[in-house]
């Protein structure tokens, strides 16, 4: 609780530090506009046109429906990865054999291109929610798993010994000695897992479903509707930036305050 209050208290200062980021976004938009003037509206619509399209789209209920479908798939896939990746990673980390055995599996999961997973999932599950969710899980699970595994494997034996010398009861050992260390590994892994999930969900939808934002992207592409395409891209990037910079980054800062 104390923690949440501290995050909220430091939030304005954090926002203030974001001026640099905002300036660079505006710079980016300026270059975008130059690109529009050079190549024409068919190839690259102007930022203004894109944002106009975006506003009309956001007033359209059917667009929100697509966004919700995508959100649902991404959250289910990411949620499952988060729960199972963290738990299995912890478990594997506590047993040397398990962590050695899991390494090749992780390598396969990480090394296999997502597009190959999508194709396989289409064969196994057909065209629908399962295919997308499966792909999201396969892509984000190993990242979280490895984070949890490393967090557990790198626990400091000296601190465990110290905890024993003060006869810490098990709940203190867990919350005061193990958890903060493991969390400092798992949390960044959650963040990258989330970014991965959000990218993969669009890709899987584009190839394997007829609804969701990815599918909308496929439709707008086939109609050569560049403003809509770009507006969709802006939604995807905007939502990711919102989650990452407004929600996760402030938490991460507080959580890692004690680090060098």
């Amino acid at each position: 609780m104390k923690f949440i209050i501290k995050i909220l208290k430091d939030f304005p200062a954090y926002l203030w530090s974001g001026w640099g980021a905002i300036a660079s976004i505006f710079l980016f938009i300026a270059f975008w506009d130059i690109g529009n003037q050079v190549y024409g509206a068919l190839v690259l619509p102007s930022p203004l046109e894109t944002f106009k399209t975006l506003t009309t789209m956001l007033q359209d209920e059917s667009v929100w429906k697509e966004i919700n479908i995508t959100l649902y798939r991404a959250s289910v896939g990411f949620g499952l990865s988060l729960i199972f990746g963290s738990l299995l990673g912890l478990l594997a980390g506590f047993f040397v054999t398990a962590s050695i055995m899991s390494r090749p599996i992780v390598t396969i999961l990480v090394g296999m291109p997502p597009i190959a997973w999508i194709v396989l999932a289409m064969i196994w599950f057909g065209m629908g929610d399962e295919t997308v969710i499966f792909t999201v899980i396969v892509a984000s699970f190993p990242i979280i798993f490895v984070g949890a595994l490393q967090g557990t494997r790198t626990l400091d034996d000296d601190l465990k010994e110290m905890a024993d010398s003060f006869k810490l009861p098990w709940h203190m050992k867990f919350f005061d000695v193990y958890f903060p260390h493991i969390f400092s590994y798992v949390f960044p892994a959650w963040v990258s897992g989330l970014g991965m999930a959000w990218k993969i969900v669009i890709m899987a939808e584009l190839l394997a479903t007829s609804d969701g934002m990815g599918a909308s992207l496929a439709v707008s592409r086939s109609q050569l509707d560049t403003p809509t395409t770009l507006a969709l891209v802006v939604i995807m990037i905007g939502s990711l930036m919102f989650i990452e910079y407004i929600i996760l980054e402030p938490i991460k800062r507080e959580v890692e305050l004690w680090r060098d």
């Binding site: 000296d158 601190l159 010994e161 110290m162 024993d164 010398s165 003060f166 006869k167 810490l168 009861p169 203190m172 005061d176 000695v177 903060p180 260390h181 400092s184 305050l257 004690w258 680090r259 060098d260």
Partner: protein
């Protein structure tokens, strides 16, 4: 009667013999120091006595009601601030949080930490400050036996003296028994009822010195005099050979 008794203690790490045939007894209210060159197995011996390492050969009997440990490297929790680190042992004993924080603040001030340091994380502390926090964490639980592993090695002279005074006071009041490790002979002479000289490769006790003058009556003259006496001892010169050069 509370006491710590070590009998015929041997220890190996792998095939390396670290300790050979260690024998001593620490009685209640006593301060026993183990002095020796670094790498001699002092830390290992202390860990064996405190039950942090399993005894392989020999016997360690500890009948003290409670004990606590100040580690050579501090071993503070990096994600807790100074006060929360100090309070750790109190909370583990089931002390109420508000009382634990109160006691921790008091002892922190007594050990030369300042109020502005209370919220700092260990990464923002100097080596000496970390040692003080570790020392405070071990003392605040008021153990009947205290294990100290070179607790003052990173402190400057003034502060070292201050903390030594704290210990001397506690010994004079018979509040505590201490097993103390140092490589500083003068420090040992100032504080101990008994000094064991541990020689390296493998660690074994070569000499034993006892001092009956109460600690709070020992002055610099006494310490220097006794040091000079000891330093004429051939065994000592041999043990500390490397360090005297």
């Amino acid at each position: 009667m509370e006491r710590l008794e070590v009998k015929g203690l041997n220890h190996h790490f792998g095939f390396t013999e670290i300790l050979r045939d260690i024998n001593f007894t620490l009685e209640k209210g006593q301060m026993l120091s183990i002095v020796g060159p670094s790498g001699g197995g002092k830390t290992t011996l202390l860990h064996l006595c405190a039950g942090l390492l399993d005894v392989e050969e020999g016997k360690v009997t500890n009948t003290f009601a409670s004990n606590s440990f100040a580690f050579q490297e501090g071993r503070l929790l990096p994600w807790k601030n100074v006060i929360d680190n100090i309070a750790l042992g109190l909370l583990a004993k089931g002390e109420k949080t508000s009382i634990a924080i109160e006691k921790s603040k008091k002892i922190a001030l007594r050990f030369g930490l300042e109020e502005s340091d209370f919220e700092k994380f260990p990464k923002d502390l100097s080596g000496g400050m970390r040692q003080r926090v570790s020392f405070a964490r071990a003392l605040v639980v008021e153990p009947s036996l205290l294990f100290l592993d070179e607790p003052f090695s990173a402190l400057d002279i003034g502060l070292k003296k201050e903390l030594q005074t704290v210990l001397i006071e506690m010994i004079a009041n018979k509040e505590i028994s201490i097993l103390f490790i140092t490589h500083d002979l003068m420090e040992a002479i100032r504080l101990s009822d008994e000094i064991l000289l541990l020689k390296a490769d493998p660690g074994h006790i070569v000499k034993k010195f006892t001092y009956s003058l109460p600690q709070n009556e020992r002055d610099d003259k006494f310490v220097y005099g006794e040091s000079a006496k000891i330093l004429q001892d051939a065994e000592i010169i041999d043990t500390f050979e490397l360090e005297l050069k």
